[in-house]
Symmetry: C2
Amino acid sequence: MKIIELKETITASNDRDAEVLRDRLKRSKTLLINLMSSPGAGKTTLLERTIKDVKDGLKIGVIEADVDSDVDAVRLAELGITAVQAHTDGMCHMDAGMTETALTELGFEDHDLIFLENVGNLICPAEFDTGSGRNVMILSVPEGDDKPLKYPLMFTKSHVLLITKIDTMQVFDFDIGKCVSRARKLNPDIRVFPVSAKTGEGMDAWEEWLLDEIRAWQE
Amino acid sequence: MKIIELKETITASNDRDAEVLRDRLKRSKTLLINLMSSPGAGKTTLLERTIKDVKDGLKIGVIEADVDSDVDAVRLAELGITAVQAHTDGMCHMDAGMTETALTELGFEDHDLIFLENVGNLICPAEFDTGSGRNVMILSVPEGDDKPLKYPLMFTKSHVLLITKIDTMQVFDFDIGKCVSRARKLNPDIRVFPVSAKTGEGMDAWEEWLLDEIRAWQE
């Protein structure tokens, strides 16, 4: 079996834009969480539950980045938070410029917490700094415990790994120990929270982390 | 709730390269199947079972396109077929030029059937014609029946929709009727095969389609 390497040059000037945006967010005491995952990993369901649990006393917003449709933003706006749907015109990720445009539409300055639900994709979003304060990735149990081997950059760039749909663990051959040790090999500092937005299992620890991060960001 | 449109220009000259490659494949009577899906939808498991079932009397090859790792190619090479692992250096898709490079490494001319296991991603691979004879997409039950709403181009560009992991249907709230009608709205001609590579359910119909397509391609 042969292995061949195919190359592409990737442009960058995005990093500087992202730093400038992060500074603005820091000044307005707005924590931007960049939420990344495969399609169907349960980002929106997790967000729904999380927002319901933590929203008291916080001004929360959501940017839904999607190639098309507005089903997720409509669902989340029903929670009484601010929401913007950002169509990426076929693009597979959000960059800092796109994020800034969406944040401006949202009127971010008076928000404590904004979730950027990035495009469903384990590759491209990892390559572009959005200006977020923290990167959170979701891996759902049905996707398999081998994903750190196949999408290493996503695990390297994330501060938190949420392992979702843990209520389906008995149906799938998912070894959580293997998954976590593969993730930690790439990123020793990654925080891991196994959760089920359906049963509520594990949500406390994740939400506690989130509230701590908001406090730290606003200090 | 606001909807904003973010734009990017996408270059193209890939379409002509793809046509040229498709002509070469037609002349060598090699059917190239471009297999696309999210990460963790079960592409490799499905391929394993399919290849075992249909390989008698056929020369089969596999191109495994991945950002990193070679776990899938090693698994498939154990079936006694030819296999090439193509690392895309972070790129989220295969284009016609990359596919041609991989096919040349494989020595495609004496093959009847080659599967290109495209990068796990529902967005980018749909945008690039690889030169394949047929595009097959996989949607796994855990991903949800709303995916045609969110990734329309993938459904538009695919000749076949394989709905995989149907053995987990009772665990997930997946409405197959809704999923299929959403897919057909985008692409009235799409062939749909619900399958489970684990239990074998539905594999016959899919494999019959595959063998018919090989015969038609070689006429």
